[in-house]
């Protein structure tokens, strides 16, 4: 399995995908952080020396999980799109092993992306806080929990993407499904009265639970699942998709 993971890592780092996606994820985070720093202290926005500002800005990178889901989808579906499944499954005919190796690789890649996002976040938020005369401690104000939550969201969405990609195989189809699932479902549940109480179970709701601090940003504190439940739920989705795929789509004839 070590060899297979090495092979998957090499697949990942030998095309342009990884650095393009890393740039996208960092740009998204950087843009959001710049805005929240620029707008801090204005009408209705917490000032830079407040704990609220720190907490709001610290989880901003969690929003990049939609991109890392696409990353996972592409990691899986490019085997079909470019027909590299030929050499992949000739070397490793037991196809489930390839899926497991991809999930392990997705975990490593997700942690790497999460670390990059949190490094950028720290590099923006800490100076912004300190220069405004605020105080920053890496172990206070739920910073460790939020850090873990953002990294978990980014990582688990890579796995979710891999599972979705294995299930759907068609790259465009899988990306569309992922987007509809994470965005549209969200919007519907939030906007239809009567469904709103299920909001905490939607992908977005679960993701929020990963790094929610119970802080109230003016909309009322969201009702969320416990963090452990959220991690288990997202991991469960990713593994369930991968498992179903391993017994269905992945087994199909490769013609």
């Amino acid at each position: 399995m070590t060899g297979l993971v090495k092979a998957e890592l090499r697949k990942f780092f030998s095309t342009r995908l990884w650095w393009i996606m890393l740039l996208v994820v960092l740009a998204w985070t950087g843009l959001g952080l710049s805005l929240s720093i620029a707008l801090a202290g204005m009408e209705g926005q917490p000032a830079r020396d407040t704990v609220e500002f720190q907490q709001m800005a610290w989880i901003y990178g969690g929003g990049t999980s939609s991109f890392t889901m696409i990353l996972g989808i592409v990691m899986m579906t490019s085997e079909y799109r470019h027909r590299t499944f030929n050499s992949t499954f000739l070397v490793t005919p037991v196809r489930g092993r390839v899926i497991v190796a991809k999930l392990v690789t997705g975990l490593l890649v997700g942690l790497l992306f999460g670390a990059a996002v949190m490094t950028l976040t720290a590099a923006a938020v800490i100076p912004a806080t300190l220069t405004a005369g605020g105080e920053f401690s890496p172990f206070a104000n739920e910073i460790p929990r939020m850090t873990a939550g953002v990294v978990a969201a980014i990582t688990l969405y890579v796995l979710l993407g891999i599972g979705l990609g294995a299930l759907i195989r068609n790259q465009v189809g899988a990306i569309m499904t992922g987007i509809v699932w994470t965005f549209l479902l969200e919007t519907i549940v939030v906007s239809v009265p009567g469904l709103q109480e299920f909001g905490k179970w939607t992908p977005g709701g679960v993701t929020t639970a990963l790094y929610d601090t119970g802080a109230d940003f003016g909309f009322g504190a969201a009702e969320v699942l416990p963090m452990g439940t959220a991690v288990a739920l997202l991991t469960g989705y990713a593994l369930l998709f991968s498992l179903i795929a391993s017994f269905t789509t992945v087994r199909r004839d490769l013609v």
Binding site: K6, S14, T84, N86, S87, L90, P93, D253, V255
Partner: protein
């Protein structure tokens, strides 16, 4: 001799239409077998079943006595060249092979060795997206050689190669089979590409075996003369003791007479011949007939 490849009564349909319809074949170590047939004959489907990429409806496919998926380290026993499209365009040739090596637990040194063996060392770091079809075929071949297998399975490997490339491939396959003792199964829809290279030929059409045997036996087939004549030449030929068959297009095929005898007979009986040629190879005719039948089928 060891039976390297053994297919028994293989059947595979797509959407109820048979692609391979009861094919059995064996390939021995140290020999090259041509798997020949027109486009759509079922060659690729057979080879993909053999390699575990397509699940047969029935029948068995064994390499070294086992199913491909049951081989502990498949690419050290079987090397396969499937199609020249299975590469990520933005990945380099070296990375493509290094990935295979890592997954198979082979030493990294094999990557550059294999690139050298197929004449691609100069393009090792180039993206495959910029490769010509011929270069992709060579890269596919390098992938097949990584594990130094004793069985090579190649699906139309000459596609996209220039004449020099095809000549190189021939020498290459001969070397692997006849000097290194590998069993080679190579498919083609162009008989001329492989007939000088293969020891045995298997001809398939419409998913069924049409003919098989050593190339010597298949090409020895009784010599016949193909002619077109103005006027009715057939009774004259038959009167002289020849056996004649007439094609729908007016072509006469004459057996039991040499080309000189046919020519002299035409002169003596004052018949104008518009065409006369020796059909040396039974194999060629079988192959052409198959291709013709397919084209006619497509027109009707």
């Amino acid at each position: 001799m060891t039976t390297a490849i053994e297919i028994t009564d293989l059947r595979k349909s797509f959407g109820g239409v048979p692609a391979v319809d009861g094919v059995s074949l064996t390939v021995q170590a140290g020999t090259i077998t041509g798997y020949l047939g027109p486009n759509g004959a079922g060659k690729t489907t057979t080879l993909r079943c053999l390699l575990g990429l397509v699940a047969p409806d029935s029948g068995t496919c064994l390499v070294n006595g086992r199913r491909y998926a049951d081989l502990p380290k498949p690419i050290t026993e079987v090397g396969a060249v499937l199609e020249a499209t299975g590469f990520h365009p933005s990945r380099s040739a070296r990375d493509h092979l290094a990935i295979m090596c890592a997954a198979a637990g082979l030493p990294r040194a094999r990557v550059d060795e294999a690139l050298g063996e197929v004449g691609l060392a100069h393009a090792a770091n180039k993206r495959v997206g910029g490769f010509s079809l011929g270069m992709r075929q060579r890269l596919a071949l390098a992938g097949a050689l990584l594990g130094r297998p004793k069985i090579l399975i190649l699906d139309e490997p000459a596609n996209g190669l220039d004449p020099a490339g095809i000549e190189w491939l021939r020498g290459f396959l001969r070397h692997w089979a006849h000097e290194l003792g590998a069993a080679v199964l190579v498919s083609s829809h162009v008989l001329a590409e492989v007939e000088q290279t293969v020891d045995n030929a298997i001809i398939i059409a419409g998913g069924r075996l049409v003919r098989h045997g050593s190339i010597a036996d298949l090409t020895r087939g009784e010599q016949q003369i193909r002619i077109r004549a103005l006027g009715d030449f057939r009774p004259v030929l038959e009167g002289a003791g020849a056996r004649v068959t007439e094609g729908p297009d007016g072509v006469l095929r004459v057996k039991g007479m040499s080309i000189d005898e046919v020519g002299r007979l035409a002169l003596n009986s004052r018949v104008v011949l518009t065409e006369i040629s020796e059909e040396r190879y039974d194999l060629h005719r079988v192959f052409l007939d198959l291709t013709d039948a397919r084209t006619e089928g497509a027109h009707s």
